[in-house]
Every structure is written in structure tokens, then in C-alpha cells.
């Protein structure tokens, strides 16, 4: 079967039309498509989308909060911003520990939002070398989303970025690989607000859930050492400061950690010594918010309820002003919550 010249031209035109149509469709879908499928999990993906959405609206923020889901659930950045007359974002990374914070802050948050100050929420759990989150570090730094966002110096990395700048289809192609997420994003749209309104999880306050209390000490706090995590947070602080970002450590509200759930006080000493080492090495300012929140305002003994978040944010604003005035360590008002434990 011979193809005539006209047919060849028509076929070529048809092929180009198909590719152009796909590019137009990708451009139309792009604002509604999240980065689903390119990051290790949905929570990181949502956080990344929120930060990129915010970066389109503001050139830089004054304060970026970082840490794990405990930080995410402890601080309402919008309330904080309005009370301190700053711009603030809660850029915490659910499921993270200290080793993940460096790459996330230095290669994602800082280039996107150029914060003046980064407040890192910390807890003894983040310093545990044996945390269950260690595997997440490798997953994060090898994920397509991270590699695409950071400087992948390979030839393919350059090629990818060059095409990504010009083609929406190339930009969104990783998201298109998860069809169910695409359908979800197109029907509901992504949340582009960095700090969406606080919502309680279904089931509400689970502060008295003993199963939660039983589970974590066994799996996360076993054979506690704090060597690599301490090094990681020192590196993260130094990396941030080298980029002109000032850093504050925020000790997060705590109920049972190292006090009740752990048999013995040895690990508390290991953690406190590690934190002291960090402060000595970096000279970083610390805000101590451990004893601020009553049990009833904890959702699950780690994360706060919306009421707890509001309380803690309000208390933080007061401490923030003291910290801004140059105090090396600021203790937020204590409610002696540790005495409330049954």
C-alpha cells in the first residue's frame, strides 16, 4: 500500500495536531493537577503543592515553620502572621525526622519562599536514630518530585528542566501517571492554601486513646541513640544560616514523651544532652513550649486539636516577641500539664 504525498502531509499534520492538543489539554489541567505521584506520599505532595501555590503569590515569607506532623498540627501560621504582623507559612513535613529536614528546607522551602527565619519544631522523637521515619529520607531524596525540584545535574536533569519550562505536558506528566489522583484532582481541585483551616479528623479528640500510647514507645523509642539525627539537625541549621536564614528551635508541647511512657529517665538525658550539643555548636535560639497544652487539647497524645493549635499559637506569639528581642532561650507559660497525667 503506497502512501501518497498528500496523505503523508496529512498524517504529519494529524500527528502534530494530536501532540498540540495534548499540550493544550495539559495547560488547561495544570492548575488543577497536584504533584500527586511524584512525592513519596500524599501528605508531602499536598504540602509541596501548598508551598508552590504560595510562592506564586508572595516573593518571600518572614517565618517558615518546619518539623514533623507535630509542628504541622501545633501552629496556625495565619493566626501567627496576623498577630505578629509578619508573613508566615507552616512548611512542616508530615512523617519527617531531623535527617529529612535539611534536604526539605534547604532544597525545597528556601528556594521557593526565601524565608528570613525558619522555626524548627522539635521533639525527642525527631532525635531518635532508630525512628521509623529513617527509610522515608531515602524515599524523599530519590523521589521524582524532589529530583525535579532540586538541581539534578545530570544531562537528563538539565534536559528535563529545559523541556519543563516550555511544556505543560512535560511538567504535569508525572502526575498523569496516577490516574485515580488525576480524576480526584480534576473533580475536587487541589488545596493551594498553605495553611488551610484547621479540621479535626473523623473521630475527633482521641486524647485518651491508650493504644496510641502503648504502640509508640515500643516501636520508636527502643534503644534510643541520638547521633546521626543530632548531626543532621546541626547540618540543617548551618546550611540554612549559610543561606542567610536565621533559625530558631521550638520545643513542642509534650504530654508523655520521656516522662511517662518511657520506663526510666536515661533516654531523656540522652535527648537533652543532644539538644544541648546542638545549641552549643550552632548558638541557635530555643523557645520551650513543652509544658503549654493541657491533655484535653491533644488529639492523640502527640498532635494537638484545633483548640490546642489555637492555644499554642497564641502562646507562641508572646514568646516570639521575647525571642525577637534577642533572648537565647524563651520558655512559654507553663500550665503544668505534666502533672495532669493520670
Amino acid at each position: 500500500v503506497r502512501t501518497t504525498r498528500t496523505q503523508k502531509v496529512l498524517a504529519g499534520a494529524a500527528l502534530l495536531t494530536c501532540l498540540l492538543s495534548a499540550e493544550i489539554a495539559a495547560r488547561a489541567m495544570e492548575p488543577r493537577l497536584s504533584s500527586a505521584g511524584t512525592w513519596p506520599d500524599g501528605a508531602i505532595s499536598d504540602q509541596y503543592d501548598a508551598l508552590t501555590g504560595l510562592s506564586r503569590r508572595v516573593d518571600r515569607v518572614d517565618v517558615a515553620f518546619a518539623g514533623s506532623s507535630m509542628t504541622k498540627r501545633a501552629i496556625d501560621a495565619n493566626v501567627f502572621a496576623s498577630r505578629t504582623h509578619t508573613t508566615a507559612v507552616n512548611a512542616a513535613l508530615p512523617g519527617s525526622s531531623n535527617v529529612m529536614l535539611g534536604p526539605w528546607l534547604i532544597h525545597v522551602v528556601v528556594p521557593l519562599l526565601h524565608p528570613k527565619t525558619v522555626v524548627i519544631g522539635i521533639d525527642g522523637r525527631d532525635f531518635n536514630d532508630r525512628t521509623a521515619h529513617n527509610g522515608s529520607y531515602a524515599t524523599l531524596v530519590t523521589s521524582p518530585g524532589y529530583l525535579q525540584h532540586t538541581e539534578d545535574d545530570s544531562f537528563l536533569g538539565h534536559l528535563d528542566r529545559a523541556f519543563s519550562e516550555r511544556s505543560a505536558l512535560i511538567r504535569v506528566r508525572r502526575s498523569l501517571r496516577t490516574p485515580a489522583n488525576v480524576v480526584r484532582a480534576l473533580t475536587t481541585g487541589p488545596e493551594l492554601e498553605a495553611d488551610s483551616k484547621c479540621r479535626e479528623k473523623v473521630g475527633g479528640n482521641t486524647g485518651n486513646n491508650e493504644r496510641f500510647l502503648d504502640r509508640y514507645p515500643k516501636s520508636w523509642l527502643k534503644t534510643y541513640t541520638a547521633t546521626s539525627q543530632t548531626r543532621a539537625i546541626v547540618d540543617a541549621i548551618e546550611g540554612l544560616e549559610a543561606r542567610g536564614v536565621s533559625v530558631v528551635l521550638l520545643r513542642l508541647p509534650s504530654i508523655y514523651d520521656y516522662v511517662r511512657a518511657r520506663p526510666g529517665e536515661d533516654d531523656v538525658e540522652v535527648y537533652e544532652a543532644a539538644l544541648e550539643r546542638v545549641v552549643d555548636e550552632t548558638g541557635v535560639a530555643v523557645i520551650d513550649g513543652r509544658k503549654t497544652i493541657p491533655l484535653g487539647q491533644f488529639r492523640d497524645r502527640l498532635h494537638l486539636t484545633c483548640e490546642g493549635m489555637a492555644t499554642f499559637t497564641r502562646l507562641l506569639v508572646g514568646g516570639w516577641e521575647d525571642s525577637d528581642a534577642g533572648a537565647a532561650t524563651v520558655a512559654l507559660p507553663s500550665t503544668n500539664i505534666l502533672d495532669e497525667q493520670p
Binding site: 529530583l147 490516574p179 489522583n181
Partner: protein, 470 residues
């Protein structure tokens, strides 16, 4: 340098441009040099091994041909095969057998302290070893004359499109093509070559690599369920077929651009109505090699029913072992050996049809059953250990959908549907006819769809072709 890499996308057209500008003899020399460069890209140290294998069989085949004494001829054949199999065994199986022997000794209460060698496996060694053995064997059987031209022979062994993962070329088919001047491909050949390369890339990037992470997740499920096992097994069936046939399509398409035809390696294997038909259509270059150089020398079907079953079983067992030094491959080969023997026992005439039949609705049940049996066997091929294979298989008995996501189902079932639909079209219309008889606008649409799918699934670290490890 893999077929799905940027390097190859630059390498192949550059070689083709140069090739077109050279006279015939210089073309072969140039192809040999670039084939060695292509091979040396992985590990240049193993180039010496490839050249050594080439020289051995080139010399031995001539000695066999020059002698009229059957004993001398046989001695040379045994010597050549011993050297080739010896090299293969050393690099591929020495560690496995030493480990197995140590484990066996320890079970007997003895101290198993045989030194286990950890050697890097030379890429493509299983394939080029079989190339050279088939040449020497065919010369021994007087089915062909040995070539006097070392460059032609070396190119037959090392021709880059088929060097690392086949098809396992037969000297009788490939050497004559290398020995005579080749005409430039016609426009239809060009079209079909480009279509083959594009379709092969599509299968590798948009089907095999798309399904691979889902399969990895399903095989890693802590508590396999019916759905994770089905998605894992079907997913791997798609992955290995799309991966390997994709590689073969790119190899055949690239080779066709040089005016050289390589043999077909797949004939829509998942449309098989029984296990015998499956092995007539799956990895054809290996299955026919095993038939010609192992099954028939073992006696084939000439020694009675039991001997036939035994020969089938041994052939498939060794076929499994050829894939890799692991118990899982041996069990996979054994399963197929048993299935082939059982099919032969119950349906002795089922494999005699010369032509592969068009697909009809009435074949659906047989195809479904065969596909599922083959998919179950793939679990052993894919698993890292027999324990893992049994664990994954046990999921069949847990009636639950836990562990499977909507995306995993969409990706695997979608890829499976594409595989079946394209295979049915190729079987019922004809592979080449599908391309050249298609209306140009429809063809353009199909090409655009494949290009888009490749774009969407490309990027990041390219997964190597599965058969590169063999």
C-alpha cells in the same frame, strides 16, 4: 547504553548515517567496531571474553569442517562446547552451586566451606554463548558451511542490536545476510522499522516501566491477598512481556534500518490456548534453540512417551536454569516442564497445527486459563526466593482487596487490555499489515498516542531491560 536511553537515541542514528556512507565491506568492519563500543560501554573488560568466545568457535568450526573423521569432528565439537559452557558456568553458576553445596553440607551436619566466588556477570553472556554454540553445532551437523571471513563471523556474534538480549540469532539465517551486500531498505521496510522501534519503546517505557512499581509493591505486600496476588502476577506477566518484546522490537527495527532481518521472538504468546502453543510463541529464539540443540539431541519424542516427557522436563528445567542461577528459575522451568509433559500426555496432537490460529470468541476460556497458569508460574520467576513465591501465591486464598489501590488496578488492567488488543490485531490482521494498511490518519493518531504515552512515562532513572541480567 540501553535502548531506552538518550545515549542510544544519539548512538543509533549516528551509526546509521555513517553506515550509509560506506561500501559493503567497510560497513561490516564499522558495524563490528561500533558493536564492540556498544558492548564495552557496560564493561570494556568483558570485551576480551566476547572476542575469546568468537575466536574459539571461528577456529573450531573450521577444524570440524576440514575433518572427515567423525571422532575428530566430535572431539572438536565437545571441546568448543565445553569451553563455552565452562565460561558461562564459571561466571553465571559457580557462586550458586558453591552456595547450594555449602547449604547441603550444612544440612548434613558437615562444615560447608566451599569458597563462594562473587563475580560480575558479563552482560549478554548467555545470549552470545548460545549464538556461537549454534554455529559450531550446525557446522558439525553439516547444516552449513563455516565462514572464512572472521569479520562477518565476529559481527554475527556481536551485532549490537541483538548482542545483549537476543533474539538468539542462528548463523544460518544471519551470516548469509552479513556476507552479501545489502540493499537499502524500501520505504515500507523503513516504515515498519520505525513502527517497530516506536512500538518497542512504547511497550518498554509506557507499559513495562509503568507496571513495574505496582508489581514491586504487590510482591512486597506483607499480607498478600487475592487482589494483590492477581495484580502482582498479571502485572508481572505484562511487565516481562512488554519489556522483553519491547527490547526485541527495538532490536529488530534497528537492525532492519541496516538492511538486516532478525528473527521474530514473540508471536502474541498470551493469546495461546494451551501451554504448548505458549512455548511456540514465547521467546521463540530460545525455545527453538532448546528444541534443536537440547531436546532433539536428548532424543526428542523418538524414545517413547516416557522418554518424551522426561526430555521435555529436562529441557525446560535447563531452560529455567539458563535464565539465572537461582532455585526460583529452576522451579519455574520445572513447572513449565511438567505442564508441557502433561499437555503432551492428554492432548498429543494439540501442538501439530502449523499456523497460529486467528483469535475467536470461542477461544476466550482457553486463553484465559492458559494466561493464568502462565502468570502463576511467573510468580516464581519474579520472586527473590521460593519462600517469597509461596507467600505471594498464598494470597489467592485470602479473599480480600486489601493492599490494592485504584491506581494499581487501573495501571495493570489498562496495560493488560492494551497488550491483548494489540496482540489480537497483530494476530488477526498481521503485524506488518497493521502498520502499512492502516489509513495514514489513523496511523498518525496511533503514533501520537504512543509518543504521548512515552513522554508521560519517561524521565528519571531508566529501568534496565529485565533480560539484560540473563
Amino acid at each position: 547504553m540501553t535502548f531506552n536511553s538518550i545515549q542510544y537515541a544519539l548512538f543509533a542514528p549516528a551509526v546509521l548515517l555513517l553506515y550509509r556512507r560506506l561500501p559493503f565491506r567497510a560497513q561490516n568492519v564499522m558495524l563490528l567496531i561500533v558493536s564492540y563500543i556498544f558492548y564495552g560501554w557496560w564493561n570494556w573488560i568483558f570485551l576480551g571474553l566476547l572476542m575469546f568466545s568468537t575466536v574459539i568457535d571461528f577456529v573450531v568450526a573450521k577444524r570440524i569442517h576440514d575433518s572427515d573423521d567423525d571422532r575428530v569432528r566430535k572431539r572438536w565439537l565437545v571441546a568448543a562446547i565445553s569451553v563455552q559452557i565452562g565460561i558461562l558456568a564459571f561466571f553465571k553458576y559457580a557462586g550458586f552451586f558453591a552456595e547450594s553445596a555449602n547449604a547441603a553440607l550444612q544440612r548434613l551436619g558437615l562444615e560447608g566451606n566451599i569458597h563462594v566466588l562473587r563475580i560480575l556477570l558479563p552482560v549478554g553472556i548467555s545470549f552470545y554463548t548460545f549464538h556461537t554454540i549454534s554455529y559450531t553445532f550446525d557446522v558439525y551437523r553439516r547444516r552449513m558451511e563455516p565462514t572464512d571471513n572472521f569479520v562477518d563471523f565476529a559481527l554475527f556474534v556481536a551485532f549490537f542490536p541483538q548482542l545483549v538480549a537476543g533474539p538468539i540469532a542462528r548463523a544460518r539465517m544471519l551470516l548469509p545476510q552479513l556476507a552479501r551486500p545489502r540493499r537499502n531498505p524500501s520505504s515500507v521496510q523503513y516504515q515498519s522499522a520505525i513502527a517497530l522501534i516506536l512500538f518497542g519503546l512504547f511497550k518498554k517505557v509506557a507499559l513495562a516501566d509503568a507496571v513495574a512499581p505496582v508489581v514491586d509493591t504487590m510482591f512486597a505486600a506483607k499480607t498478600p491477598t487475592l487482589l494483590t496476588t492477581v495484580i502482582g502476577a498479571w502485572g508481572f506477566a505484562v511487565q516481562i512481556y512488554a519489556d522483553f518484546s519491547g527490547y526485541t522490537d527495538i532490536a529488530r527495527g534497528t537492525s532492519r534500518l541496516f538492511g538486516i532481518e532478525l528473527m521474530r521472538n514473540f508471536e502474541q504468546p498470551y493469546l495461546s490456548r494451551n501451554i504448548t502453543e505458549f512455548w511456540r510463541t514465547w521467546h521463540i529464539s530460545l525455545s527453538t534453540w532448546l528444541r534443536d540443540y537440547l531436546y532433539i539431541p536428548l532424543g526428542g519424542n523418538q524414545g517413547g512417551r516416557f522418554a518424551t516427557y522426561r526430555n521435555l522436563f529436562i529441557t525446560m528445567l535447563l531452560g529455567g536454569l539458563w535464565h539465572g542461577a537461582a532455585l526460583t528459575f529452576i522451579v519455574w522451568g520445572g513447572i513449565h516442564g511438567v505442564l508441557l509433559a502433561a499437555h503432551r500426555a492428554f492432548r498429543p496432537r494439540a501442538s501439530l497445527a502449523a499456523m497460529l490460529p486467528e483469535i475467536r470468541w470461542r477461544d476466550a476460556v482457553k486463553i484465559f486459563v492458559t494466561f493464568n497458569v502462565v502468570s502463576l508460574a511467573w510468580i516464581f520467576f519474579r520472586a527473590q526466593s521460593i519462600g517469597e513465591a509461596l507467600d505471594v501465591t498464598s494470597g489467592i486464598f485470602r479473599l480480600s482487596s486489601a493492599g490494592a489501590t485504584a491506581d494499581s488496578m487501573i495501571i495493570v488492567f489498562g496495560a493488560l487490555a492494551i497488550v491483548f488488543l494489540t496482540d489480537i490485531a497483530q494476530r488477526n490482521i498481521g503485524a506488518l499489515r497493521v502498520v502499512v494498511t492502516m489509513h495514514p490518519l489513523v496511523r498518525a493518531g496511533a503514533y501520537a498516542a504512543m509518543i504521548l504515552a512515552i513522554l508521560i512515562w519517561s524521565g528519571g532513572t531508566a529501568r534496565p531491560f529485565i533480560y539484560f541480567q540473563f
